[in-house]
């Protein structure tokens, strides 16, 4: 399974995203990072840590589970729900949604719906480590670690230290 990003590549991409977020929002005021379960959460934590190193401010990090908002629920076996936890009220905050891979856009669509039940952010931005293309909805990312054009029979695997015990990105051909 070919690796396309080494641990250092991931760290550098997250560091750049951290700078871009602060630059675009002119600081960290009213900023909340919200990771989408599962791997968006450690990525959001990592971006918050990077921001802390140069801004000396810990931006609040929330966790969002979108299991109850999917549009393919009837076809998913044994769906596990993770906790949804917001450290602050999202209303009037600038929320940066964080996920590992942007693909069809349906996860992000579900995340936007889930968030609208939790509050009314002033703005929502999207940060992803990998954009692999093949969108099925009019959704784009504001911050992208790396664009990796893929074919539909490939899978992009992101692994995070906190979840998988290693960090990196791999491409797998499913052969289907």
């Amino acid at each position: 399974m070919p690796r396309v990003m080494a641990p250092d590549d991931v760290t550098r991409a997250l560091r750049r995203i951290a700078h871009e977020i602060v630059e675009r929002n002119r600081g960290t005021d009213g900023l909340v990072l919200v990771g989408i379960h599962t791997r968006g959460v450690p990525l959001a934590e990592a971006i918050a840590s990077e921001i802390e190193t140069f801004e000396s401010i810990k931006v609040p990090v929330g966790e969002l589970d979108i299991g109850l908002y999917r549009d393919d629920l009837g076809r998913r076996p044994g769906t596990r729900l993770s906790r949804t936890l917001m450290p602050v009220d999202l209303t009037d905050q600038t929320v940066v949604l964080v996920d590992d891979v942007l693909y069809t856009g349906r996860t992000v669509r579900a995340a936007l719906d889930a968030m609208s039940d939790l509050g009314r952010p002033a703005a929502v931005e999207l940060a992803v480590l990998i954009d692999r293309g093949h969108r099925q909805l009019p959704i784009r990312a504001d911050y992208v670690g790396r664009n990796i054009p893929t074919s539909l029979d490939e899978q992009v695997k992101v692994r995070c230290q906190a979840v998988d015990g290693e960090q990196g990105v791999w491409i797998e051909r499913t052969g289907s």
Binding site: D65, G67, L68, Y69, R70, D72, L73, G74, R75, R76, P77, G78, T79, L81, S82, R83, T84, V101, Y103, T104, R106, T107, D113, A114, D117, L118, H134
Partner: protein
């Protein structure tokens, strides 16, 4: 394969814990400003209650609505059942109208199993005679888990009319699977004739048992199921098995009191004990909605799909 929820007797620890963990997430959803999620949009849940019920039916309907499902309420008193329509025709009609899941309550033990054979959608037992009431056991287990962290090692005394109680039958097997030790307390006339295979110990002296219990679970005296005919008198029952302030004081400081409702205040429980902070009655009601959401979600959400 269509899955149903009919009894706690065959539910293992893993299945119970899966539902309780799922219910935890729904407790969180119900605590939000907007306590509603779109998970079951487009699905229709039908409540088919041939016995009077307020809380269980409303709880299922609230659970369905909090998941954005539509609800069809079948009320036999105002339906064709009064014209002699059979149970089979009733449920087939509801299914033909688009019900995706049926919650069935019936005075006849086993009725939900029969319904499950007739329809091609999940069936949830909402209480069948004196037999089973599995969502009651789930909400009781959830309530105890919230209070004590886990059920392992908990000493639970179920007090009263065990013989006529589907709540007791459901709780005993669920509590046992989750690691609790169940003691049945009541007069012999209110005990089932045959306790073979039941993971319980039986005592008849409540006062002696109280100091050893972490949970006192009071069953309702079901006057409508002949409760009054099997013990000498109501005052006699209250004297021996009713929980009052004095008996409550014999429990250790962390012990709690539960009741499936509706309570007969002054019979199983005195009002001051019912309203004590260590009475979990309203927590049980609250948790009922969350566990029913978990059950509806698990039974209606199944299949396979890729997602990205």
């Amino acid at each position: 394969m269509i899955r149903h929820l009919l009894t706690t007797e065959d539910m293992g620890r893993e299945e119970l814990e899966d539902l309780l963990q799922l219910a935890d997430e729904f407790v969180a959803v119900l605590g939000r400003d907007i306590p509603k999620v779109p998970a079951l949009r487009g699905a229709t849940v039908s409540t088919v209650f041939f016995e009077p019920s307020t809380r269980t039916r409303l709880s299922f309907e609230k659970a369905a609505k909090a998941l954005s499902a539509d609800v069809m309420t079948f009320n036999p008193a105002t339906s064709a059942a009064t014209k002699g329509e059979s149970l089979k025709d009733t449920v087939l009609t509801l299914r033909a109208m688009g019900a995706d899941l049926l919650v069935v309550r019936h005075a006849a033990a086993g009725a939900p199993w029969q319904v499950a054979e007739w329809v091609d959608v999940p069936v949830v037992n909402g209480g069948d005679g004196a037999h089973q009431h599995p969502t009651q056991a789930l909400l009781d287990a959830l309530t105890l888990r919230q209070r004590f962290g886990k059920l392992d090692g908990l000493r639970i005394g179920i007090v009263g009319d065990i013989r006529h109680s589907r709540v007791a039958r459901s709780d005993i097997f669920a509590f046992n699977s989750l690691g609790a030790a169940v003691t049945l307390v009541g007069p012999s006339t209110l005990m089932p004739g045959d306790l073979t295979g039941w993971p319980v110990t039986v005592v008849s002296d409540l006062d002696a048992a109280l100091p050893e219990l972490d949970v006192v679970y009071l069953l309702r005296i079901q006057l409508e199921r002949g409760g009054a005919t099997v013990f000498p008198s109501l005052p006699e029952y209250v004297r021996r098995f009713g929980i009052n302030r004095e008996r409550f004081a014999r429990l250790h400081a962390e012990a709690v009191v539960m009741h499936p409702g509706p309570m007969n205040r002054g019979v199983e429980i005195t009002p001051d004990v019912a309203d004590d902070p260590r009475s979990l009655v309203l927590d049980q009601v609250r948790n009922g909605v969350a566990v029913r959401m978990a059950v509806l979600f698990r039974l209606l959400v199944d299949g396979e799909a890729a997602y990205g």
